[in-house]
């Protein structure tokens, strides 16, 4: 899956999360919370779960960092790395 496809999917999922607002711009730099989709912490969790379902991955709670939930792009990087782990299991 290309990075653009992941970004597009995250934007679609964030947009459909309860409580989300429409940001002025939609790209990798769009914040998931303040100044972007305005998701609160519950909204972010719902988005993470939706991403797990959509991409068929499990996000390890012990490795999740707050900064990975900053923007559409940082979340995409996290998902990309998990997809790579799935493709190349250790």
């Amino acid at each position: 899956m290309s990075n653009d496809e992941i970004l597009a999917a995250i934007i679609e999922l964030a947009d459909s999360t309860e409580g989300a607002t429409k940001p002025h711009t939609l790209d990798a730099e769009t914040p998931l919370s303040e100044g972007g989709f305005s998701l609160d912490s519950l909204g972010l969790i719902e988005l993470l779960m939706a991403c797990e379902d959509r991409f068929g991955i499990a996000l390890d709670a012990s490795e999740l960092l707050p900064q990975q939930l900053s923007t559409v792009g940082t979340l995409a990087v996290l998902i990309q790395s998990r997809l790579a782990d799935v493709r190349t299991p250790s």
Binding site: D40, S41, L42, G43, M49, S62, L65
Partner: protein, 309 residues
């Protein structure tokens, strides 16, 4: 009904000295901890009563709360409420509780069998009613309960590091939502792995789910635990704590109805189940409802900065 016996060693790396009290108490804690424990506790009780009398606003609130309870003399109830405030501040700061062994004395637990079965794990739903630190007392007794909350003291006390790393405790910090989202994700993972996690159903955090109208004012129930129980699909056990005859009594109720995927229906069924439990508690122990009488936060005040969970 079972009394509190250790079912599994869950003491871990958290010790009573890692807990501070309310922020206002911090400068006085070293001095209070040097005093003999009964003296320090009595001092806090006296200060709480004296403070209430000196600050007419608090006394007025205590009397107003007491008047609404129809539970005997309003002056007697108001003074007991103020005194309990002092006792619970001492409990919060673990004054006179130097170690885990001390903490587990004089505690009775009813209803632990609800989560001791083969399908152990679930959400323990507490409220800011009665003596504080219920989750930690359960841990001291050996129940493998994970602590959650702001844990402000953990920011500056590296003794918390190991507990946070292993998931014995999970921080839900104030500030940007992504910090709390990380904590909530951790809680969901622990729950789905069969963990037992204690979450507060009320408090300064988060979106309001519903209110339980009570004589002295409403108890505002938050949305976080409701979302978590649906996301993790785990049973939810309401927990209430009170002090009676010098003992701390912890009552764990049977599970609320199974989570309903429809959030509105789930909220409605939880509200219907919780309301009589809270009402019954307040009727029986109005003198232990310090946060209802003197809210430490103003849920409707946007300037209070209460963040969403």
């Amino acid at each position: 009904m079972a009394t509190g016996t250790a079912v599994v060693s869950a003491r871990g790396t958290i010790v009573p000295g890692m807990f501070g009290g309310p922020g206002r108490l911090a400068p006085w804690l070293p001095m209070l901890r040097r005093l003999p424990a009964p003296v320090a506790r009595q001092l806090l009780v006296a200060l709480a009563v004296g403070d209430g009398v000196a600050r007419s606003g608090r006394l007025h609130r205590a009397l107003s709360w007491s008047e609404d309870q129809h539970a005997g003399s309003k002056w007697s109830l108001a003074l007991r409420l103020l005194a309990n405030h002092g006792r619970f501040v001492a409990d919060e700061a673990m004054i006179g509780i130097p170690d885990v062994d001390t903490l587990q004395r004089d505690v009775i637990v009813h209803g632990a069998e609800h989560f001791e079965g083969p399908t152990s794990g679930g959400l323990l739903l507490g409220f800011h009613l009665g003596p504080p630190r219920t989750a930690y007392v359960l841990r001291a007794l050996g129940y493998p309960v994970r602590l959650t909350g702001r844990l402000e003291g953990a920011r500056e006390d590296e003794r918390w590091d190991e507990a946070l790393k292993t998931g014995e405790a999970v921080r839900l910090p104030t500030g940007a939502p992504r910090g709390r989202a990380e904590g909530l994700h951790r809680i969901r993972t622990l729950l789905r792995q069969g963990g037992l996690v204690y979450l507060a159903g009320d408090g300064p955090f988060g979106r309001e789910a519903f209110r339980i109208d009570l004589p002295g004012g409403p108890l505002v129930v938050r949305l976080g635990w409701l979302a978590m129980r649906r996301l993790a699909r785990v049973p939810t056990f309401p927990v209430f704590t009170y002090r009676e005859g010098g003992r701390r009594v912890i009552v764990i109720h049977p599970s609320l109805p199974q989570p309903d995927a429809d959030s509105d229906r789930d909220t409605a069924q939880c509200q219907a189940a919780l309301t009589p439990l809270v009402e019954s508690y307040v009727r029986r122990y109005p003198d232990q409802c310090r946060y209802l009488a003197f809210p430490a936060w103003e849920p409707d005040d946007p300037s209070s900065g209460a963040p969403d969970v």
